[in-house]
Symmetry: C2
Subunit: 298 residues, 2 copies
């Protein structure tokens, strides 16, 4: 039996499975303090082992920034996160104390990108970008079949974008950069600007045009820098279909025909910027994949 | 004997070698019409074959956009370039008519990134970004040992960036996007803003602060999206040492400590944003590497 944790900044999803695409049992709970949250995950896995037998690998896809480099002294830790209590938390270290099995560790979005590459909307593609726009904004990338880390790991939500000639005066909510993309279009940013949560803002509110413009600007940047074969967008914000449609046409408008591909046309764009093939399960199924890879390499 | 072409928008560099790191003979000439320019390259190689014996592979690193996907009907072509006469030019097709040998084809910057990964400042690194800021602005990326193409190939110079609160009024020179990074900080952009070429502008001119700010903004975006292990900068513009120093400190200021790594510190940054290990030869040596890979795979 394999196990996975999608360790999000808002909630943890823990699951076990025999085959990574078929979840056997799953539990979700809010992310509180590290002690409490990690203990809950461990309790769930202990219970599962009693019912279903031993767990042979565990993958953790975590909110970040994290240290995913196995050669580093801070490997397995959540590092410079602005999330209270979670800075410098050795999540893999704590899990290893209770479970002596191969463990994979990566960002939640790299995990989701890997899940989508293996079994979802990114199957067999050379460059797969999984983007989440929800509590935060983050991107994971699989290139040539493997997640990308480089110096640390991508932090795509933290790019700066132009705010247009009709710059709105909103200062943004990112504690590090103010009006980076995460500071402008994450769920909390949308709520802070509008004074009410996104799901309560009607589709015809002009504020959505601003949000769509910023998201499209960010996607154009990711397209120019990474040239993804497909952009898979999860998280709550683009779950609003009217917003997704606006973003798709703004992306074409901003690229202005410079990059030519059948996907970058009014007919093709809905196959290019897409919802996750694994629905809301990309993260936890991706975590299984991280664990399985770790087991194979151990 | 192996051959390489660094097909730049301003000049072509053609070279032959027995060992990719040691150029045997090299020729440089301006990029004029496709017919004339490609003929000059072919003449050089014919001459070299008479003197040194047969050429066994050819690599071409080209300005773009290009189609580097061997499965595509437009493979080997320069596609939507704004450069007059060069749109939809089948450069590999024309070369193949005269030379029936394995040929590799990629962007000039992907070629240079591969050269730097194999023998230069990016040796053995997981994510190598080679950036050129000169006649144009472009970036090539090698991830997990192979150049990145994805949908087409990266077009890093064409990202939009915020222009700051003291927005200068310069409209930018990119025919597709106006004030994208290439439109703002390429050599021609710097000259258009100042009314004189960059090499004639003294280091204390305040215009350099604006240029440094834009370049640093672009580098921060590349860091957040790609997480390169090292950024290697070629091209004329950052050859001005005072500008490189300003860019390095502005990058740290803008990232604001969010991404933690010894390279992203005042002590480490000069090892992170660096000049090419192969000097001005990254492009043509990278072209050799493209040809050698093609020969190995044929």
């Amino acid at each position: 039996m394999i196990a996975g944790i999608e360790a999000g900044g808002t909630k943890f999803v823990c699951a076990v499975a025999l085959d990574p695409q078929t979840i056997l049992e799953e539990i979700r709970f809010p992310t509180t303090t590290p002690e409490e949250t990690i203990a809950k995950a461990l309790n769930f896995f202990m219970e599962m082992q009693e019912v279903h037998g031993p767990i042979t690998s565990l993958g953790v896809g975590s909110f970040g920034p994290i240290d995913p480099n196995p050669g580093s002294p801070t490997y397995g830790m959540i590092t410079s996160t602005p999330k209270p209590h979670w800075e410098n938390i050795d999540i893999i270290g704590v899990l290893k104390e209770s479970m002596d099995i191969p463990m994979g560790f990566d960002t939640d979005v790299n995990g989701a990108a890997l899940g989508e590459y293996l079994w979802g909307a990114g199957q067999g593609l050379d460059v797969v970008l999984y983007l989440t726009i929800g509590t935060g904004v983050g991107g994971g990338v699989v290139v040539h079949g493997k997640p990308v880390h480089g110096l640390t790991h991508p932090e795509m939500g933290h790019i700066a974008i132009p705010r247009g000639d009709d710059r709105d005066s909103f200062a943004g909510v990112c504690p590090y950069h103010g009006d980076c993309v995460e500071g402008l279009v994450s769920g909390p940013a949308i709520a802070a600007r509008a004074g009410r949560p996104g799901q309560d803002i009607p589709a015809e509110d002009p504020g959505w045009d601003t949000v769509a413009d910023y998201i499209a600007q960010a996607l154009c940047t990711y397209i120019c820098v990474l040239s993804p074969n497909r952009i898979i967008v999860g998280g709550g914000v683009l779950g609003q279909e009217h917003l997704l449609e606006r973003v798709r046409s703004l992306v074409l408008k901003k690229l202005n025909g410079y990059i030519r591909h059948p996907f970058l046309t009014p007919e093709g764009i809905s196959q290019y910027i897409v919802a996750p093939g694994l629905g809301t399960k990309s993260g936890v199924i991706g975590a299984f994949a991280l664990g399985l890879r770790a087991a194979r390499e151990s």
